[in-house]
Symmetry: C2
Subunit: 216 residues, 2 copies
DNA sequence: CCCGTTAGGATACGACTGTATCCATTCGGG
DNA sequence: CCCGAATGGATACAGTCGTATCCTAACGGG
């Protein structure tokens, strides 16, 4: 038992979790079985059993990894977002699947989400990401509104909830290949352009409240 | 073999299909088995086999029934919709689950939708309702815009796609009990109010194009 | 009357599931 | 050196799954 034991252990678990998510993303959650995961990871059934006591534990691990990936994607995009509008475009753009990897993850996420609707054990393991995003964006939008970058007759919480639901619905369309990523992005930008537009009747208000709106 | 044979046959199939949808709506699609359907319908396994050759046929029947229910709900609400805005509120309000029955149907629909993402056989059996609604609403919105009831700088197709995606995303939130029906309706109305609002800069255009806008 | 079709009960079959058990190997600290 | 823990191969077990088969009844037209 060498020093890097715990590391190897976690690495093994990570490989198995990734195999699980690959299956869930391509063939669905109902195709996920212990033996399938073993085959996908190129190991024996016993190894899967060894590193995960339960199938339940395995599924939870997959859900946790999926949440971590989502958070990572959002943070990467938000990192280089200058304005509040850029932050919104980044977050919403991170929700809608863009490349093949995010499509697979989105598939798996949808499968988990659907399963959690009828399986309280999965629901308890956490789909908390949407709520966190809602709070985060609401704070940002409220600040932008107070800075005069958004029309005062907009309701930040309602706008954010609507935009997140929009991104969610667009994701469904992208996954079912009813829409592609570009079309979805256009729809999102269409709405962001209106939300952050101050053209006619809001210029007066903008001029009166424009204090620290440059950095936002 | 009496005259009402075919009728009895169809009635039996209908009962079994409803039993299937009850299970799918409460315990999920993965809980749907021939034996479970038999138990739910209060018949023997053989009867389920007798009226449906395959499990596949059974699932398709459930999907068809689900689509029919959705269409029925939309038509009922659209029936007494006076203005174009009422039509939009009716259609979008028909998508978001309101009572317990529509919640169950929406659950089952989500389960089917998710399954269809990885099962081409189910996808072929038809999730065509969204596309039909998109075309329908786009025609209505374009007409309303030409009548001057909607600002000319709105893009009807984008607006409709966005609203349907919004309703879809809100449905997810309602099903996961993150939001209730009332909150979802408020968000929809919030957006419809903006879409059909002509207050400041559009009144000029409205006055110039207002020919047959009264009946719409 | 009787015979073929319709309807359904009872049971079986093979595949697959999650989980458990038995066993061999490896390897590092005492 | 050696012994116990870590690791994993092979196999078994009890369920559940969709599907198939066998066998009764019932019943209406010839």
């Amino acid at each position: 038992m060498g020093v890097p034991r715990q590391v190897d252990h976690d690495e093994r678990r990570r490989q198995l979790t990734e195999a699980l998510l690959r299956i869930a993303g391509t063939r669905g959650l109902q195709a996920v079985s212990m033996r399938e995961i073993a085959a996908e990871a190129g190991v024996s059934l016993r190894v899967v059993q060894y590193y995960f006591t339960n199938k339940q534990a395995l599924l939870e691990s997959g859900l946790i990894e999926l949440g971590a990936r989502g958070r990572r994607r959002v943070q990467q995009r938000v990192a280089d977002a200058a304005s509040t509008r850029d932050v919104f475009a980044a977050v919403l753009g991170a929700i809608v699947p863009s490349d093949e990897q995010s499509r697979l993850d989105s598939m798996a996420w949808t499968a988990y989400y659907t399963a959690a609707l009828t399986d309280p054990a999965l629901a308890a393991a956490g789909l908390t990401l949407p709520n966190a995003l809602e709070d985060f964006l609401t704070v940002r939008l409220t600040a932008a509104q107070q800075a005069g970058d958004v029309s005062p007759d907009r309701d930040p919480r309602t706008e954010v909830a609507g935009l997140l639901a929009l991104a969610n619905g667009l994701t469904s369309g992208v996954l079912s290949r009813q829409r592609d990523h570009e079309a979805a992005t256009k729809i999102i930008d269409y709405h962001l352009a209106r939300l952050f537009d101050l053209t006619p009747r809001n210029l007066a208000h903008k001029a009166q409240a424009g204090t620290d709106s440059a950095a936002d």
